[in-house]
């Protein structure tokens, strides 16, 4: 056989030279991607190491038991007992989760089975809006509506701040997540199961509650665990209504403190051991999020295992992709909603028992009718809260909205949000410039260059997910100390931007990777079969097809950056009126809302919130439309 074929045209002559060049650029690309991946991993390690390095000695100084079980938190006498805030966090989280999951699951059941089909779409859209409302807006709603309501109607002698107000606000905040994940889990149950139950003589509610809901319990459980994680890490909304007294929680109306509110409230003034005690509190939060994330992954693995029959080929609708990415980015959930082609193993005869005695059977059916009513009530509560938040904000805000308020020059007597708008834009610019290239590169490396069966990729994904589940206030604390004090930048846009970049990085990686993994292998094979190199296949064939996923992840990251307030409070300071300056402090939309709310400028707070909500809604709609557009283009 001859080494070089005769009769080849120009193609062959260029071969050797090209092959060598290809090999070199291929290696360069691979290394670049690898470095980005390692960098992402390094960011996680850095946060963990930093927390331990600064927090553990503090725990030792205070005394481990004194820290965990002490009840006094007093800086002049150097006593730092976290117990009240710890219990406060648990108390509020438990209450909020119970309420939020109940409301959410019943709403999801309502939407899945009892709602008129033509209303489902709009309601789901509305709930997506609710999911996108920044936590600081929930905060002012709590401060201006829920707290006075409790004060006036329930307990005249207390001021209204406290456990109940915080739990109510938190439960509304977590409900949308629970609804969207549960609804997806319910939808994934094959309708044959439902029809099978009907064929045995069950009423519609009976079939739903006895067969479909139990079959979807994995997804519902995952949603609940996830919402616990969100509730325990929530900072701003809780801080604004919790009261802030360092006391052991006893009654519902009591003003207490949570760990997140403690950190956000005190870190800016703290120093020395005080600050380190707050970092130690951060460790506790981190441990909680680790545990919750671990439990979540275990449940998801089980659900996945049960649903492993699902076909990977099925294309998701853009809205589903968005909902999924939303939860991926915001909450770190991925596959719980992935159960498109569920084959749950439900034993009809076990779950569902038809009684032949009419009386008994009727009583049973009434029980399910009650459950049906409850599910309507759940959906009702969700929608009432959504409507009241939007109406309240708009009503209060519209009167303060003016050209000057939006774009005029800032002064103390006549404030405008121009600096905040510019500040938010600047933060988006800095954080995305850092996070998007690194995140996409890491995702490409993980999905295209790493062996899909290796242990390493499994751990890498787990780390990314862990990074995504860390409460934002912990990122804030990290940025505050690393950039603010160690680097000596003080409050700065650069420090805040980098911190936000690290915060949105895991979301970008996850969403992008999902997008890449959903590209069918036949396209990779088609390209390889033409002799294309790995790099060319990846960047010319695979990545363009995942463009909609990648863009969605970027847009969601923008949404997250503009909504974030806890991190910025610690890294950007809060200097209303300061125009963006890379190394100087400043303000952002969310921070301005917080500022106005705490200055009793309710009108301005609501007006700024209106603008922010509009912005977030537009962003989310934009993401949906873009995803639709791109998927149409490629279909």
């Amino acid at each position: 056989m001859s080494t070089m074929r005769v009769g080849e045209t120009g193609l062959a002559l260029r071969d050797t030279k090209r092959q060598n060049m290809q090999k070199m650029t291929g290696a360069t690309i691979k290394w670049t991607l690898f470095v980005a991946t390692i960098f992402s991993l390094f960011a996680l390690l850095m946060i963990v190491l930093f927390l331990l390095y600064r927090g553990i000695p503090a725990m030792a100084d205070i005394g481990f038991f004194k820290f965990l079980f002490g009840t006094t938190w007093d800086s002049p006498s150097s006593q730092y007992g976290i117990l009240p805030a710890l219990l406060g966090s648990l108390y509020v989280t438990a209450l909020a989760t119970v309420m939020g999951v109940a409301i959410g699951v019943f709403s999801a059941i309502f939407l899945h089975r009892f709602c008129k089909k033509r209303f489902v779409g709009p309601i789901v859209q509305a709930i997506n809006i609710l999911a996108g409302i920044p936590s600081v807006v929930f905060g002012i709603f709590g401060l201006l509506v829920v707290v006075p309501f409790i004060q006036n109607n329930l307990s005249p002698d207390v001021e209204g701040h406290g456990i109940l107000a915080a739990s109510i606000i938190l439960s509304i905040m977590i409900a949308p997540t629970v609804i969207s994940i549960s609804l997806n889990a319910l939808k994934s149950i094959p309708k044959e199961l439902f029809e099978g139950a009907l064929a045995l003589g069950a009423s519609i509610p009976q079939a739903e509650f006895c067969v479909v809901v139990p079959a979807a319990k994995g997804g519902i459980l995952a949603a609940s665990v996830l919402s616990i994680g969100r509730a325990i890490g929530e900072t701003m909304a809780v801080m604004m209504v919790i009261g802030g007294d360092h006391e052991i929680p006893k009654g519902l109306m009591q003003s207490i403190n949570t760990m997140t509110a403690l950190i956000a409230g005190e870190a800016r003034e703290a120093g020395g051991l005080w600050l380190e005690a707050l970092i130690a509190t951060g460790i506790l939060l981190f441990v909680f999020s680790l545990v919750i994330n671990f439990v979540f992954m275990r449940i998801r693995a089980k659900v996945d295992y049960r649903f492993s029959m699902r076909s990977k080929k099925k294309n998701r609708s853009p809205m589903e992709t968005l909902a999924k990415s939303l939860s991926v980015t915001v909450l770190g959930v991925g596959k719980a909603m992935d159960s498109d082609h569920a084959k749950p193993s439900v034993d009809l005869s076990k779950l569902f028992f038809v009684d032949h005695e009419t009386k008994k059977s009727n009583r049973k059916k009434i029980k399910f009718d009650v459950l049906k009513v409850l599910s309507c009530v759940g959906a009702g509560i969700t929608l009432v809260f959504l409507a009241s938040i939007l109406v309240f904000i708009a009503k209060q805000g519209v009167s303060s909205l003016s050209w000057h308020f939006l774009f005029g020059e800032y002064s103390v007597d006549n404030p405008s949000i121009k600096p905040a708008l510019l500040g938010s834009a600047y933060l988006i610019l800095i954080s995305l410039l850092i996070a998007v290239p690194i995140g996409i590169a890491a995702a490409v490396y993980m999905s295209e260059y790493m062996s899909r069966r290796s242990k390493f990729i499994k751990y890498l994904r787990m780390s990314v997910e862990t990074l995504a589940s860390i409460p934002s206030i912990v990122y804030g604390l990290f940025g505050y100390i690393l950039f603010g004090s160690i680097f000596g930048w003080g409050y700065s846009f650069l420090g805040a931007g980098i911190t936000l970049a690290i915060m949105v990085l895991p979301g970008i990686i996850r969403t992008t990777e999902e997008g890449l993994l959903s590209v069918h292998n036949m396209y990779r094979e088609g390209s390889f079969a033409l002799g294309a190199s790995k790099a060319r296949t990846t960047f010319r064939v695979v990545v363009p097809q995942a463009a909609s996923g990648i863009l969605t992840s970027v847009i969601l990251a923008i949404g997250r950056v503009v909504s974030e307030s806890a991190v910025l409070l610690l890294t950007l300071g809060l200097v209303p009126g300061a125009l963006p300056d890379t190394m100087g402090p400043g303000t952002s939309m969310a921070l301005d809302i917080f500022y106005f709310a705490t200055q009793n400028k309710e009108g301005q707070a609501a007006a700024a919130a209106t603008v922010l909500i509009l912005f977030v809604v537009v962003i989310n709609l934009g993401a949906t439309q873009l995803a639709k557009l791109l998927s149409r283009k490629t279909k």
Binding site: R5, E8, A529, L530, G531, A532, P544
Partner: protein
């Protein structure tokens, strides 16, 4: 195996692929067992056999597409004309191999780009950048694939807008555009209707003047219609290989006879 006559001896000189003692494992699963065979130049060779018998696996060995499967382990030699050593040797550039051994897949996998870009993807991969040169290649490939007249006015249109049969011919044209010597086809018509199937079969018949074709098919009639030689596989073994007419009229083994008469499989 039949005794080799004079004609066979002559054909042997014209072989383009030689497979020697090929064994392939997916993890612990021994998927191909000691395969020995030759593929001849400018002939259509069909691989037939029941599902899971290893025919597609063997096809994918010929351009090393199995490299993409991580659990896959290969022993033995495959020699392809034009390559100095056997194709699983370290010195072989796998991209160059795939350039000269093209492949068409079961499901049409046109890229989500325009028709022109689909065809030009391969040549661009191998360093052709100039527009006139690319245009010549695109026209030539589409003409060879018998679809030029149907698409010449819509080259800018997305290839995904075409019908399944047209898409498959685009895939064939795309494979031809990198000037392969050998064309592997993995059940190229199984996702298509009878009319498109007929068009592709006619196309194969024309293409064998310039290319050697290996086709995997589930359809025995198809093998009978277009293949010069046919190999029958069962449970990872190559049971019988000969001229198509001989294999179908006078099968030498009982398994093969039972299969082609429809008694099992």
């Amino acid at each position: 195996m039949r005794t080799r006559g004079y004609i066979e001896k002559f054909m042997e000189e014209n072989k383009c692929i030689t497979i020697k003692n090929l064994n392939l494992y997916y993890g612990d699963n021994h998927a191909l067992k000691n395969i020995n065979m030759d593929i001849f130049k400018n002939k259509i060779t069909a691989f037939i056999g029941p599902s899971g018998c290893g025919k597609s696996t063997l096809l994918r060995c010929l351009n090393r597409m199995n490299d993409l499967i991580e659990t896959c382990r290969i022993e033995g030699n495959i020699e392809v004309e034009g390559f100095a050593s056997q194709i699983y040797d370290k010195s072989i550039d796998v991209n160059a191999l795939r350039k000269s051994v093209g492949m068409v897949f079961q499901k049409p996998n046109v890229f989500p780009m325009s028709i022109f870009d689909n065809i030009a993807f391969g040549p661009r991969t191998h360093g052709i950048k100039k527009k006139p040169e690319l245009q010549a290649i695109v026209e030539d490939s589409l003409t060879k694939a018998g679809i030029w007249n149907e698409v010449k006015d819509n080259l800018k249109k997305s290839a995904l807008a075409l019908s399944g049969g047209q898409q498959q011919r685009i895939c064939i044209a795309r494979a031809l555009a990198v000037q392969p010597e050998i064309l592997l086809m993995d059940e190229p018509t199984s996702a298509l209707d009878p009319i498109s199937t007929g068009i592709i079969e006619d196309l194969c018949d024309q293409l064998k003047k310039n290319y050697s074709i290996v086709i995997v098919t589930h359809n025995m009639q198809q093998a009978l219609r277009i293949a010069d030689r046919t190999a029958f596989f069962l449970l990872g073994e190559m049971i019988e290989e000969s001229k198509t007419v001989d294999l179908f009229n006078r099968p030498q083994t009982e398994q093969c006879e039972r299969y082609i008469t429809g008694k099992f499989g």
